[in-house]
Symmetry: C2
Subunit: 520 residues, 2 copies
């Protein structure tokens, strides 16, 4: 989504504030045209009007717009009069650029500007003139690509509404053992959630970090009967953590027919699914994923789990949520390391079964790492949809689902050997590097593609990670819960979208691949 986005609307509709938030959320450059022109003229716009005349100003404005329209990936707040000129609208639309009208009534605009500013702007002193101008411009504003109603919204909500408008909501099904589980990737998660929970008694489960960032927004349309907020971090995802939730549910007299809404990353969705599946022998639950890793992996797949000190995710079951919501707005609040983690899993999913997703990560890696929200949203949607397809075909992981383990077999050894000081995403990136090298050594994968995979994964991994030697990695790999009969099942690659599951890997072969990688 590298097309420019131009925000239009009347004075006070919030173009500058919303635009700045939107650009930050999308990891894009923000341009405020009025600020640019003030700098250009070296004086406030009212003075330019008074001293040089409106025509001079409009000419400079159109020239600036022409320059901006030749650039890519901008978010620009236009001046209130820009859209009035049809030639300007054509400029904004050049190369797929989009016009987004922040639609609001005159009173809302006046309130937003405040008495100080309306007093300072000559136009606002004449109420009739303002009303006339407002009425005149409506038709020009209406010639837009998206009209977004911002009345009554906080600036952050308005920015999310713009994203929702330019990013269509995607709904697809994960078929989990015959049960339909609709997954919705949306910038309008609060509305979606309210719709899904209508008429049910709702209990919200989250962790404090996510709750601080997202709970007020997501729960705006709910009246939860109780909220259970746990400490953040993997240490909470244990039987003791589950126990805290059970106790809270009992204290709130939660019944089997009530609905648990788990809001957070993989830790909360895994734990929430486990508790919901085992409280009073199973209650309905909805997972709202707020992390990229959660969106592309944890929340789609019908797995519920908690950790034991001896092994991660060792206690759990397969269970289908009532629905999954991928909260795309929340992706704007992730730190870079968490973006990289999620991208590693998304890249893996692209590699095993979605060339379009592979290309997206391959070609826009830096922008994605920098926080391009449109791109991250596309990654979340494509990866979740692809995973849902694979999982629907093989819910209980008897066969085809195994390809999702690309990078995970050696990756788990990396995590375990480093005592889980290395994040899952980084470990999977390392695992994919090893898988690519093994595929190359076996003559399965072309050298240039293998190198591309290794380069992208090295970028996703970040600073180098010590590789566990084969004699220590092998027993960990044998013990993976997905393996049987002491064999190591390994996913290799024959190309993009062409994974190959093998069980004849030898420790020697792995040792050679590790040595080759360390020699680089």
């Amino acid at each position: 989504m590298p097309e420019n986005i131009f925000l239009t609307g009347f004075m006070g509709s919030g173009k500058s504030t919303v635009g700045a938030l939107l650009a930050r959320a999308m990891g894009r450059k923000f341009v405020d045209m009025d600020s640019e022109l003030t700098r250009h003229f070296g004086q406030p716009i009212a003075e330019v009007f008074a001293q040089r005349g409106e025509a001079a100003f409009r000419q400079a404005e159109s020239a600036l717009l022409a320059r901006l329209s030749r650039r890519r990936g901008l978010v620009a707040a236009t001046g209130g009069g820009v859209a009035a000129n049809p030639a300007n609208r054509a400029l904004m639309r050049a190369d797929g650029g989009r016009i987004v009208w922040l639609r609001a009534g005159l009173e809302h605009c006046a309130r937003r500007l405040g008495p100080l500013e309306t007093a300072a702007r000559p136009l606002w002193r004449d109420a009739a003139a303002v009303e006339r101008l407002f009425a005149q411009r409506q038709e020009a504003y209406a010639d837009c690509d998206h009209a977004v109603d911002t009345e009554g919204l906080l600036p952050q909500q308005a920015a999310a509404a713009v994203l929702a408008a330019i990013t269509p909501q995607r709904v697809f099904d994960a078929g989990l053992e015959g049960k339909r589980c609709p997954v919705t990737a949306t910038f309008q998660a609060p509305a979606k959630l309210a719709e899904l929970c209508a008429g049910r008694r709702v209990i919200v489960l989250s962790e404090s970090r996510v709750a601080g960032l997202h709970l007020a927004r997501l729960c705006a349309g709910l009246q939860p009967a109780a909220q259970v907020i746990l400490p953040p971090g993997e240490a909470t995802k244990t039987l003791a953590g589950a126990r805290r939730v059970y106790d809270a549910l009992l204290a709130a007299n939660v019944e089997r027919g009530d609905l648990l809404v788990a809001i957070g990353g993989g830790m909360i969705t895994d734990l929430g699914a486990f508790v919901a599946a085992t409280y009073k022998r199973g209650m309905d639950f909805i997972l709202v994923s707020t992390s990229l890793l959660g969106c592309v992996d944890a929340s789609v797949g019908g797995k519920a789990a908690v950790n034991l000190p001896a092994a991660k995710n060792i206690v759990g079951l397969f269970t289908a949520p009532l629905a999954v919501v991928l909260d795309l707005w929340a992706l704007s609040t992730l730190p870079r390391a968490q973006r990289a983690e999620g991208l590693a899993e998304a890249y893996k999913t692209g590699l095993i079964g979605r060339p379009e997703l592979f290309d997206l990560v391959d070609q826009r890696l830096e922008a994605l790492l920098a926080g391009d929200l449109g791109g991250l949203a596309a990654c979340a949607h494509l990866a979740a949809e692809t995973k849902a397809r694979v999982v629907s075909a093989d819910f209980r992981e008897k066969g085809p689902r195994r390809v999702l383990n690309l990078g995970h077999t050696y990756g788990h050894a990396v995590e375990s050997w480093h005592n889980y000081k290395i994040s899952h995403g980084r470990a999977v990136a390392v695992g994919m590097i090893v898988a690519a090298r093994l595929s190359l050594e076996r003559g399965l994968l072309a050298a240039d593609l293998a190198q591309r995979v290794i380069d992208v994964c090295a970028r996703l991994r970040g600073r180098p990670v010590a590789l566990p030697p084969v004699e220590q990695a092998w027993p960990i790999m044998q013990n993976d819960k997905k393996n049987a009969g002491g064999k190591v099942v390994f996913v290799l690659l024959e190309g993009v979208g062409r994974p190959l599951v093998v069980d004849d890997l030898t420790p020697d072969e792995l040792a050679r691949a590790l040595a080759a990688l360390e020699a680089v």
Copy 2:
């Protein structure tokens, strides 16, 4: 099964030892004919032969047999020569009596008697004569109702083999959400278990009390890769108890494809099912029920659960075992209180859906309480089969399955109000008394039947139990995990096999019924 059972076979085949064990297990009277005759003649049999001649002895023997054949419910060990006479065989078969031949080779018999005894019996001094006699008698022994090979068996095993022979193994299916789960009620649990586990890596879970009584017998045909033995008692059925099992499974490198065999009462089968359903996202498991309560209730129904301090069975799920084995032999080792507990649940099942089972408990209550193993086995089989039928129709307890809650709604309040110092079975007996009284008050149940139900339940309950008053019982009943919307769902009776589920019970109505019961 009140028909007499006559054990036949050659000297030393174990008739007296096995007969005594069998009678004790079945709660029957035991008669050892040779001992009776020794007492009758006032001298050892060898002396009777020598001084009065064999004919006099055989006459007395037949006369004794005629007297025995007019009695009922005996286990009798016959003398080695009894069966040789066709008239004796006819006497033994009078009124459905059964002849069970303990078949063994001559060497086995000699070894069992031992050198001291063979030296003392004149016949055994002449090897050729013994062989001749042994050969002669085979044909007469073979005219029996059941031939049981006892060679190589310990006396207890031989007694179980006799029970297995006279009690056909029953197999029926519990359909748990589309999955077939075969339930086998059998006195040959070890053989059945070995058959079910063939070719699988097996881990055995049990508790120390049950393990001491039954593990060697049940595991004779298995080579378990590991055994996990927990402390007995409900205190083990917690998340911490589950944690101990998870850790033991991890330590034994148990894989998803291995098979967990849980051997014990409801505590172990509930916990074992919970662990198996959640270890590495689910492994196969077999439940072997060794208690009557477990046979008639816990092991059939696809429920897995552990307790929290705040509520029993509150954490769990619906899950289907690979198979269930009802170990009928183990019912011979239960203390009376546990027999009464299981009978209370069996009676309930008879009341809601199996008139034949209702009649069995109603008519043979004292014998069952005293340990009539044949009767207990029939109760176990009939109750489990009936429950399986109800559960198959409604696995997730949305509708028809609720009738199984007869006696449980107020029963749970009794347990909870007494802080679980009252056993489940006694509490259910109390609950059924209350349900019968309520049914009577509503004019649903005939007065004589209501009184019979109350009388039987009072016997099953044992010494009186204080009734929780309605203002304290009501909130507990509202909180039952099977209820919804704060309503109390209650099962009443219109007759045997005619349960009625209502949700319009009022606290006043319950108070009146409790007052009426306390006034008695």
